[in-house]
Subunit: 342 residues, 2 copies
Amino acid sequence: MGQTPYLRVDVAAMEANIAAMARQAASASLALRPHAKTHKSPQIAARQLAAGAVGLTVATIGEAEVFAEVCNDLFIAYPLWVDAEDGNRLRRLADRGVKLQVGCDSFAAGSNLVGLPVEVLVEVDSGHHRTGVRPDQAGALAAELVGIGLSVAGVFTFPGHSYSPTSAGQAAADEAAALAMAADSFRPTRLTCNRLSGGSTPSAGFTTGGVLTELRPGVYVFGDAQQIELGTIGFDQVALTVISRVVSHAGGRVVCDAGSKALGADRAGWATGYGRVLDAPDARIVALSEHHATIEWPGRLPHLGSTIAIIPNHACNTVNLADEYTLSTGGTWPVAARGRNH
Amino acid sequence: MGQTPYLRVDVAAMEANIAAMARQAASASLALRPHAKTHKSPQIAARQLAAGAVGLTVATIGEAEVFAEVCNDLFIAYPLWVDAEDGNRLRRLADRGVKLQVGCDSFAAGSNLVGLPVEVLVEVDSGHHRTGVRPDQAGALAAELVGIGLSVAGVFTFPGHSYSPTSAGQAAADEAAALAMAADSFRPTRLTCNRLSGGSTPSAGFTTGGVLTELRPGVYVFGDAQQIELGTIGFDQVALTVISRVVSHAGGRVVCDAGSKALGADRAGWATGYGRVLDAPDARIVALSEHHATIEWPGRLPHLGSTIAIIPNHACNTVNLADEYTLSTGGTWPVAARGRNH
């Protein structure tokens, strides 16, 4: 009996998720480059690569340093602002034989990349309204970057507005339209744009071939309560839970010891609570403190001292709170890239 | 220039906060037992103790093990469900000379404590509706626990419903009423109830002497955006920020590199955003991804590549994401109890 709360991976469910996404990408003739920020685990990345992934996506140089252990083709899908120390870190990665690509959405950030062993992908805003240039301006930025000596491999976007009920199909359509427009905007520059990279777990199932060349989903490897409530997956596809102990029945509710310091505090406006309970789909986590989840539980309450499996809302943030995974097959894996925020 | 995002402590502001709460508790004749889950730092705890704290509050046995370094009077303010391994950990703490108290809100959980070197405080629900027995039932549970050989020192509550605008005064009144009723409920049992422990940062300023004997605030040591928006503190009292780099001006907004993996994803329903910006009170963090904060920024935007100081919504969860503090006075302190969830 482990010391609760702890992260549990259902290895069979995870391997099924890895295989299913690999099949889906292959059937749409898309290269699959999973985002490793979700799992932060070289062991899991190795399984994604063995299933046919062409490389990995990461968010930071620190994640790239961890995943260089198992992969020599890494895309840092982030508009990096690189200083001298960062430049040295990127050079050391290249010296290890890693092919590096980085995101860019401004000439100023691109200027810092001159002379470094990286290729650039121009980031495009496809409707999430976070980072990225307007699709029709991608070619102009690419030309400016090439003008200062950079190599531009193509364009990428994150259709994050897929994270809302019933919007995944539209987000996938927006993503394809934005990337197509971005590629078109390269024509007057006479540059080629061979890489059109997108993808999120909710929208991946709506992405057909023809425009995109590459998918970068992350969460699919585990699934989480957000994906259940978005309709992307069912409870039977969940591969990551937080095993938690029931510590109180105060007020006729279940209170267990997985709070925001184990689950993360993510709660989208459309979520029904702070996570879901694996074996009690009708239970609702109505409140979350740092070490308490308060659960309205229809019917007979699980005993004080018993354990329950909680599906976190957002797997990526949950994983970043833990030092290791406990495997359904026995043993543990480290969360090797936990806290690698730079 | 540090590698962003990183946690910065303004040591002078922190020391002023420590001194102010010590004065406030003393003026109300209350013992101060700060909750160390906020800072997870023995160095900071040592300063609280030097300023007159009678001991520390912690949430887990793991935190108790860390803070036993600097304090020999620890209250684990949580309804622990203790197994054999936990019992051995508690024994080892007692062997180090630590006086231990633990929370309890059920006979079943109390039964696990028999024979262990701990005193018990009965937890009471004063309106937060998380854990704790009804105030009028505290004495009955205390009598049952004493009946199986436990030592009961008193009662405690957490008035967590103070975390809502304009409710802190009422929460403090509810807390005092609940603890008074709980102490009264000891009378028929002929047990004494000398310890009446409460406190939260928002309600602490409303707590007068007369009923409570002890305060257990945590967040006050740093302050955070929630405390600003609740009206507990001003911007000038904030001692903890996340230093973050501006990486994009996409869409005319500021996007910086402190996302939910650095700030935490906490956002109460009444919060104006995912944190505040220290030097730009009118800016609003309208969206948060794992490595991006999207900020609507009135007026001239800070330059790409410049750093800004973000005040997290909830200091406790922010701290739990970091391995160290960078001090305004130079040097670092470890977040020694990070991840100590059990």
